[in-house]
Symmetry: C2
């Protein structure tokens, strides 16, 4: 239960990858294109493209068009929270359908519903949790490309 979608999964992977390339190792501020990420993680190219578009539209990354184009983090990794990323892809957090209902529309159960209020509390707690964790926190201790000698820069494998 409470599973996040594959798209959200891909978003997290892609952002983490971009962050690593941008801040993690020697290659300085290099842009990352869709194809590179798709191949690295075995993600369907077209689907990943859509995910990255959504992230761009929501201000998580910046896109640069044309040849040698690609994506860049819109701001520092420590200022991008998990909550922001997930909401960019899956829409606002909401345990139940009635989470964001205005006073106008009711669910069929609303009149006798006693679980709405406590569930909203739970939801709020989860949100705070997701919003306190940043992209930076997800880069800790991962031995990815790790040390790459400066002489081999630009040569990715």
């Amino acid at each position: 239960m409470l599973k996040i979608s594959k798209k959200a999964d891909y978003a997290l992977m892609a952002l983490q990858h971009i962050a690593l390339v941008q801040f993690g190792d020697v290659t300085p501020g290099r842009v990352v294109n869709t194809k590179e990420i798709a191949e690295e993680y075995n993600i369907p190219l077209e689907l990943l493209a859509k995910v990255l578009q959504a992230l761009s539209k929501n201000g998580m990354i910046e896109s640069h068009n044309g040849p040698k184009g690609g994506y860049l983090l819109a701001r520092n990794a420590s200022h991008i929270t998990i909550a922001q990323i997930l909401e960019s892809i899956e829409g606002p957090l909401g345990l139940t359908d009635c989470s964001h209902e205005k006073d106008g529309d009711f669910c069929m159960q609303r009149e006798h519903c006693n679980i709405r209020t406590p569930l909203l509390k739970v939801q709020d707690s989860i949100y705070q949790l997701l919003n306190s964790m940043t992209l930076q926190d997800m880069m800790g201790g991962t031995p990815l490309i790790t040390i790459q000698s400066p002489s081999t820069q630009g040569v990715d494998r």
Copy 2:
């Protein structure tokens, strides 16, 4: 995002209702049948039946067959957690598909996946949150028996 299913919703409502009838007001230890709950909250009868069956199978409630039959909480409301209820309906908590993977099966992204570990931490935090909240907590504001001394064990009202 992170929405729980309608069935889980119904489960929470139904359990809360049963708990109220059993502990909350004057009618003492009365059993509650499916129809009563379905009508009270406008839930499709057959669907609610399935939900209650699942709850029964998972030890949340006890079923009593035949005429004048119905459901009863299997134990005190303070010993039934939200996590237990949700897992009875929706299966084990898992943000990603790979949450419960054994070492044998890999997802396509596993080899380069750097987000698994941090996500598992988040997942664990959410679980603790859901597991620390009980059915009793969801009855807040409703005057119920509250304190039950250990000496009255076995006598559930």
